[in-house]
C-alpha cells in the first residue's frame, strides 16, 4: 500500500506529564483495581457485621491510640506529598530530592506505629470471623504502605543518581505522589470501620 504523509510528529515532546503519560494512566488503572479490592473487604466487613448478633464478636473494640496516630501521620503526610508533586511538575530537582527523603521518612513512620496497631486490635485473626476481617483489612492496607514505601525509597535513590535529571523521573515522582494519596484516602474508610463502626 502506498503511503501519503499527512502529519509531521517531529515537533512532539519525547515524554508527556500527567494525562499525556501512559504510566499515569497505568497507575490510575492499578488504583482502580486495588480500590475495588478495598471496597470488597469493606463490604465483607459489613456483611459479616449484619450477620453477627453482637459486633465485635466477643472482643473489646480496638484501642484507638495507634490507629489514630497512623491516621494523623498519613493525613499530615499529604501536605509534603502535594509539594513534592508540585516541585516535580516544576522539574525542580533540588526540592524534589529533599521532598523524596521527607516522603520516605513519612512512609516509614506509619509502618512503625502499624506494628503496634495489630496488637491493639484486641483480637486474633483465628479467634472468629470478626478477627479475620479486621486483620485482613489492616494487612491489606499495610501491604499498600509497604509497596508504596518501597517505590518511594527506590525513587529517592534514583533522583540522587545521574538518572535524576530526567523528565521521566519527575513523572514517576508525580505518579508516586498520586499513589500515596490513594493509600492515604483508602485508609480513612478502613480506619472508620475498624475503630469506629466497632464502637457503634
Amino acid at each position: 500500500m502506498k503511503e501519503r504523509v499527512v502529519v509531521d510528529l517531529s515537533r512532539l515532546p519525547l515524554h508527556g506529564l500527567g494525562s499525556a503519560s501512559v504510566t499515569w494512566w497505568g497507575t490510575l488503572a492499578f488504583m482502580l483495581i486495588e480500590g475495588t479490592g478495598f471496597a470488597l473487604v469493606i463490604a465483607i466487613y459489613f456483611y459479616l457485621m449484619s450477620l453477627a448478633p453482637i459486633w465485635p464478636i466477643n472482643a473489646r473494640p480496638p484501642n484507638l491510640f495507634p490507629g489514630t496516630l497512623v491516621t494523623l501521620i498519613l493525613v499530615v503526610s499529604v501536605i509534603p506529598n502535594y509539594f513534592v508533586s508540585r516541585w516535580a511538575e516544576q522539574q525542580d530537582l533540588r526540592k524534589v530530592r529533599i521532598g523524596m527523603v521527607v516522603m520516605s521518612l513519612l512512609g516509614i513512620a506509619p509502618l512503625i506505629v502499624r506494628a503496634f496497631e495489630f496488637s491493639a486490635l484486641n483480637v486474633s485473626w483465628d479467634t472468629n470471623a470478626y478477627g479475620s476481617i479486621v486483620w485482613i483489612m489492616l494487612g491489606l492496607h499495610t501491604t499498600h504502605i509497604m509497596t508504596d514505601l518501597a517505590d518511594t525509597l527506590v525513587l529517592a535513590v534514583l533522583v540522587f543518581t545521574r538518572h535524576g535529571r530526567n523528565l521521566r523521573r519527575f513523572g514517576d515522582v508525580q505518579d508516586n505522589a498520586m499513589y500515596w494519596n490513594f493509600v492515604v484516602v483508602t485508609w480513612l474508610p478502613i480506619y472508620g470501620c475498624i475503630y469506629w463502626v466497632s464502637r457503634l
Binding site: M1, K2, E3, R4, V5, V6, V7, D8, L9, S10, R11, L12, P13, L14, H15, G16, S19, A20, S21, V22, W25, G26, A29, F30, L32, I33, E34, T36, G37, L40, V41, I44, Y47, L48, L51, A52, I57, W125, D126, T127, N128, A129, Y130, G131, S132, I133, W135, I136, A150, V154, L158, H163, N166, L167, R168
Partner: protein, 637 residues
Amino acid sequence: MSENVARSDTRDTELGRPLVGAALEDTWATPSGFWGALSTVDHKIIGRRYILTAFVFLAMGGVLAMLIRLQLARPEARLLSPDRYNQIFTMHGANMMFLFAVPVMEAMAVYLVPLMVGTRNIAFPRLNAFSYWIYLAGGLLLWIAFALDMGPDVGWFAYVPLSGPQYAAGKRADIWAQMITFTELSALAVAVELVVTIFKQRAPGMTLDRIPLFVWSMLVTAFLVIMAMPAIMVASTSLILDRLVGTHFFNPAEGGDVLLWQHLFWFFGHPEVYIIFLPAVGMVSTLISTFARRPVFGYLALVMALIATGILSFGLWVHHMFVTGLPRLGESFFTASSMAIGIPAGVQIFCWIATLWDGKPVYKTPLLFIIGFIVTFVIGGLTGVMVASVPFDTQVHDTYFVVAHFHYVLVGGAVFPLIGAIYYWFPKITGRMMSERIGRWVFWLIFIGFNLTFFPMHILGLQGMPRRIYTYQPDMPWSGLNLFASASAVILAAGFLLFFVDAFRSARYGPPSGPNPWDAPTLEWATSSPPPSYNFARIPVVFGASPLWEQNETLAVADGLRVDRRELVVTSLVAAKPQAREASPRNSIWPLLAAISTSVMLIWSIFSPWAVVWGSIPIAIALIGWFWPKGVPEDEA
C-alpha cells in the same frame, strides 16, 4: 547498548522507505535464540505464545471432556473412580474458564489491538511479558498437580465448606485457589495494558467513534476484568487463609458465613461470562462487516449494547443462588435484571442480521462460524432467559439443563466466533491462508457435533439428572440420551482435531496470503502479514471507522518519529490528537525473573504463611531491576 546511546537522534524523515524499514527492524527486532525468546517484549510474539498456550489448554480440557463423556456413556460405569472423576470435571471447568476462555480472548487482543489501533507495541510491554509467564506458571501448577493426583476436586466454583479446611483434605483446594491468583494476576495485567493502549496509543485521528468494534469490546472487557477479578482474588485468598492459618470467613460457628463465598465468587463469576462473551461480540461484529462487505449496521447501538451489558453484568450474580433460600423478593429483582441483559444481546443480534441483510455475504469459513454462532448462541441466550426465572430455576439449577445452557453460551457464543476469528486472522498472524475446504469440514463437524452433544442435555436436566455425578443407576431413564451425547461428542472432537491439524499444516504449507486477503477495512490489514517487528513503518492516520475502505489506494501516514530508539505516538483520549513521541521499553529478562520469583512465593505460600515475607524479597529485587533505568535511548526525555 552503548553504541545505541552514541548514535545520534535519527528520524524516519531523513531516510527513504526501505532504509526506514531496515533501521526500525534494527531497533525493534527480537534477537533470535533462547535469550531473545525469554526476554522479548514484542506484543506479537507474546500474543502468539498466549494464543498457542491457550489452545494447548483447550485441547487438554477437551481430552478431559471426552473422558467425562466416556464415563457417562453407560450407567454405573467403572472406568473412572469417583475421586478421579471429581478431579477431572473440576479440572475441565477450571481449565476451560481460567486457562483457556479468558486468556485466549485477551491473547487475541494482545496480538490484535495494537495493530488495529495502529501503534507499534502494546502499552507496558514488559508487564505483558510478565503476565504471560505468570499465566504459564499458573497453568503448569494446575496440570502438574493434576498429574500428581493433587488436582482440585471441589468443582470449578469450589463451594465452601466442601472446599474448606474441614472437608477438603490436603492441598488440592489450595492449588485451585492459587491457580486463580496466577490467572487473575495475568488477566488484570493485560486488562491494564489494553485500557492504556486503547486510551492513549490510538493512531492520530482515531476518535472514539472510529475505534474498531473489536477494540471497543476489548475496552469494555478490560474494565470488566478490572472491576470483577478483585472479587475472586479476595475470595480465593480468604479461602487459603481459612485453610492455612485458620481464619473464619466461611465458618458459621465463629461468625463466618457459607454464602459469603457464593456472593464473592459469583460477583466475579457472572461478569466472567461476559469477559468471555464480549470479545466474541467484537469478533463477530468485525468479521460480519468484512464478509458482508458493509460497515456493521448500528455502530453506536452496538457500542452502547457492549457498555450496557458490561454494567448490567454486575447486577445479576444472585441468579446463581436462587435455591439457597435468599429472600424471594430480592430474587425476583435479580430475575428482572438477568432477563434485562437479554435486551442488549437482542440489539446485537438484530444489528448483525441487518448487516448481513444489507450486505452481500461472502461465504468463507469465518462467516460460516458466525452464522453457526447466531444459531446456537440464540438458543443459549433463550435458555439463559429460562434459568433467569426463579421458579424455573428451582427445577433446572445444578442439572444437565444448566450444563447444556452454559455450553451453548460459552461454546456457541464464544468458541464459534473465536474459531471463526482464528480462520480470519490466521493469515495476518502467519502470513498463510488456512484451507477453505477443510474449513468447511471443520465447521460442519463442530456445529453438528456440538448441537447433537449438548442439546439432549437440556432434556436430561428436565428429566432430573443432576450435574457432577460420576455415574447414574441403570434404573434411571438417562442412559439413552447420555450414550447419544457421548457418541456425538466424538464428532465434535473430530472437528476440533481437524481444526488443529489444518492450523498446523497451514502454518507451514498454506498459500501465502498477502497483506489483506479478505479486503478488510481495519488497520491491522494495512501492514504486511505477518507484520514486521515495528508493526507500521509510518504510523497510519485515520479519517473514518473503516480506513482501508475509505482510502483504498494510498494510506495516510505520519512521520517524524525516531528510528534509533523504540518510539510510538501517544494521542489524546477522545480526539486522538498526537501528544508525545513516547518511548517503548526494550527487551528485558527481568519480567521473567519477576514472574519466577512471584510463582515461587505464591506456591510456597500454600504451605507456609512465612512465604509471603521471605518470598517478597526476591520479587522486590526483580521489580527494581525491571524499572531501574539502563541508560538506553528509551530513557531520554
